[in-house]
Amino acid sequence: MTETAKSVISLDGLQALIDALAAKNYQVLGPTVHDGAIIYDAITKTADLPAGWTDRQDGGRYRLERRDDDALFGFVVGPHSWKQFLHPAKETLWKASRGPDGIVVTAEEPSPQKLAFLGVRSCELAAIAVQDKVFCEGPYLDVPYAERRKDAFIVAVNCGEAGGTCFCVSMQTGPKAEAGFDVALTELHHNGAHEFLVEVGSESGAALMQDVPHRPASNEQVSAAEAAVANATNQMGRTLDTNGLKELLQGNSNHPQWDAVAERCLSCGNCTMVCPTCFCTTVDDHSDLSGDNAERVRKWDSCFTLDFSYIHGGSVRTATRSRYRQWMTHKLASWYDQFGTSGCVGCGRCITWCPVGIDITEEAAAIRAAPMSDKEKPNERP
C-alpha cells in the first residue's frame, strides 16, 4: 500500500500503535479519566483510555457521563491541552552559581524524553500550530519549546461528535484533522466492529505504521469515517461570526459590553490556563539559603492578574474590563497583527471552564449586535 492510502486497525492494532511508539522511546500521553474529568497523562495500554465515557459541556459546566457504547474517543476536549507538555506550566530556564570566579550561568539541559501525543483533536492541532508561530517563528527562538516540539509525535483523532461549547467550524480549525499530524485516526463502530481508520500524515507516521498490523480500508469504512466527521460538523454547540471581527473589536475598545462582562468576570484567569494557545509567562528568580545558587523558573502567567501589567507606580490594567478586553481582543484581533492568525481555535475550553460561564462567542456577538458608531468613540484622553 502507499503512504497516502487509508488503512484500518483494530483495537489490538491501537495497542500495537502505542507499543510501537514506546518501542521508539516515546513517552505516550493520552486522554484518561481522573477526578471526574478527562485529562492528558501517560498511558501504556488502550485500557487507560476513557472507554465508554463522554463529556457534557456548557458555559461553566463539565460533567462526565457514561456512553451506551465502548468508544475510546467519544468525548471532546477537557481542561488539559497539549500545551502543558510542549510549553510546561513551570520550567527552569537556567541555573546560576556564585563562587570565587564570579557568576556562572548554566542552561538547563532539555529532557531527552521524546513525547507522543495520542488523541490530538483538530482544534488542538491548530493550537499547536499557533504556538509554533509564537515560539518558533519570531525574531527569537524559544529554545526549550522548539526542542520538545521537533521530537513530538502526533496521533490525531477526528471528532465524531462535537461538544456543547465547540465552535471549531466557525474558526475553520476542524473537526477533521487536515494537517500537522503524523497519524490520524477516526474511530469507527461499523457493522459491529470497533475499528480505527488510519491516515498517515508524515514519514514518521508511515514508518510507525510498518510496526502496526493494518489492512486497507474499504470504501464503506472511508465513508463511515466521513460521516462521523460530518456528524460532528453539524453538532457544534457554539458559533462565532468571524467576519470583520478583528476590526470590530479593535474599533470598540470603549464599548459598554466590556463593563457588562466585567460585572461577571472574576478575573480568575481560568480561561487563560485552559486555553491551548495562551502563551504568556512570568519568571521567578530565587536563590537557595546560602545565597550562592540561583535559578530562573518560567511559569504560565495570566493577563487577568494585576501583576501582569505592573510597572513602577502601578498596574496599567487596573480594571477587570481592561483585562478582559486585553484577553479577548488579543485572542480574536491583535493576534492577527502579531502572528498572522487568530489566537482562538474554537475549542470552547474558556467557556466551559469559566466559573461564571462567560462565553467568548456571546461577548463577541453582543458587541457585533450594537457596535459603537464613530461619533460615540471619541478619544478617551486628550
Binding site: L93, W94, A96, R98, G102, I103, V104, V105, A107, D132, V134, F135, C136, G138, P139, Y140, L141, D142, V143, A146, E147, R149, K150, A152, Q250, S253, N254, F279, C280, T281, T282, V283, D285, S287, G291, A294, R296, D301, C303, F308, S309, Y310, I311, H312, G313, V316, R317, T318, A319, S322, Q326, H330, A333, S334, D337, Q338, N379, E380, R381, P382
Partner: protein, 279 residues
C-alpha cells in the same frame, strides 16, 4: 519542525561593574563591561535586561554613547527589589545582562532636520545616547532643542552634563521644574509648556519624547499644536517586560510588543491605541 540549534536567548552574559556614579539619592549610573569578549553594538534608545543575582531581571535603557566603547552605561532608579539590588552594586561586582533589544531613536533619519528632545524626569536617560549622537555629529542636524522637566530642582538628572551642554552655543536647552525651591531661578511648570516657545521649524523637525506616559501625552499634543506632524514624533513606551524577546506577552500595547516593536515608536503608528485608557 526543523528548528536549527540556536543560542539560547534566555541566558544572560556576565558583566562586571567598572564604575558607579550616584546621580540622585535614589538613582545611580553604572558602567558595566563584559567579563569576556566585547560588548555588542547598540542603537540609541535600545535597552538591556539587567539581572541581579538571585533577585531578578529588569529592562533598563542604555544611556551611554552608542559609539565605540567597551562598556554599557545604565542609569537606574530604585523603585523595586531588582532595581534596588542593582543600585547597590559596587565596582567589581558582577551582574547578568541580556541585550541590547528593541527599536531605537531614528537619529540617522533625522539628519538634515531640526531635532527636539523632550524629556521628563528619568526619561532623559534613554534619550542621552541620542543627544550624545546628535551633539557628536552636530553639523548634520538643523537646530537642536532639549526641553527637560523634573519634579523639583533636587531631582534634576545629569545636572553637570546639562551645565556643560548649556555652554554650547549650538543647542537650545530649556529646563523646568514642577515645584521650585528657594534657590531655583528657572522655569516652573510642566515640560510641555516649554514647547510653544522653543525655536524650531515645525515643518522640518523630528521630535524625540521620553518620560512618564502622561507627560508624553501632553508633550505630543503640544508638538502637534506647534505644527509638528505626528509622523515626525517618536516616543519611548514602557511596559512590564519579562523576556524582552517577544515570547512572554507582558509588554503588549494594543497589537504591538513594546520589547520588539518598540520601545521607541513613531507616534502616528500608535496614536489610536495611545488614546485608549488601560490598553
Amino acid at each position: 519542525m526543523s528548528a536549527a540549534p540556536q543560542l539560547d536567548p534566555f541566558l544572560p552574559d556576565i558583566y562586571s561593574v567598572r564604575d558607579v556614579r550616584r546621580e540622585l539619592p535614589d538613582t545611580v549610573t553604572l558602567e558595566v563591561a563584559p567579563k569576556a569578549g566585547a560588548r555588542p553594538d547598540f542603537e540609541p534608545g535600545q535597552f538591556n535586561m539587567l539581572y541581579a543575582f538571585g533577585i531578578g531581571e529588569i529592562a533598563i535603557s542604555l544611556s551611554g554613547s552608542a559609539g565605540s566603547g567597551e562598556t554599557f552605561i545604565h542609569t537606574v532608579r530604585e523603585v523595586g527589589a531588582v532595581s534596588a539590588a542593582i543600585s547597590k552594586l559596587e565596582v567589581g561586582a558582577e551582574l547578568g545582562l541580556r541585550g541590547p533589544y528593541g527599536a531605537g531613536w531614528p537619529v540617522n533619519e533625522a539628519e538634515g532636520s531640526d531635532v527636539v528632545f523632550v524629556a521628563g524626569g528619568l526619561g532623559l536617560a534613554p534619550l542621552r545616547p541620542a543627544i550624545l549622537h546628535v551633539l557628536a555629529n552636530r553639523n548634520r542636524y538643523g537646530r537642536v532643542v532639549l526641553l527637560f522637566g523634573s519634579r523639583n530642582p533636587t531631582e534634576l538628572l545629569y545636572r553637570d552634563e546639562l551645565a556643560d551642554w548649556r555652554q554650547r552655543l549650538d543647542v537650545d536647552i530649556d529646563v523646568t521644574v514642577d515645584h521650585a525651591d528657594a534657590e531655583w531661578r528657572g522655569n516652573v511648570g510642566v515640560v510641555p509648556a516649554l514647547i510653544p516657545r522653543a525655536a524650531f521649524d515645525p515643518t522640518d523637525t523630528i521630535a524625540f519624547v521620553c518620560g512618564p506616559e502622561v507627560m508624553m501625552r501632553f508633550s505630543v499634543a503640544a508638538l502637534r499644536d506647534a505644527g509638528v506632524p505626528l509622523d515626525h514624533v517618536y516616543v519611548s513606551m514602557e511596559r512590564n517586560m519579562k523576556c524582552a524577546i517577544g515570547l512572554c506577552g507582558h509588554c503588549q500595547f494594543g497589537p504591538t510588543f513594546v520589547c520588539k516593536d518598540g520601545p521607541v515608536m513613531r507616534f502616528d503608528a500608535i496614536a489610536d491605541i495611545f488614546s485608549i485608557r488601560e490598553i
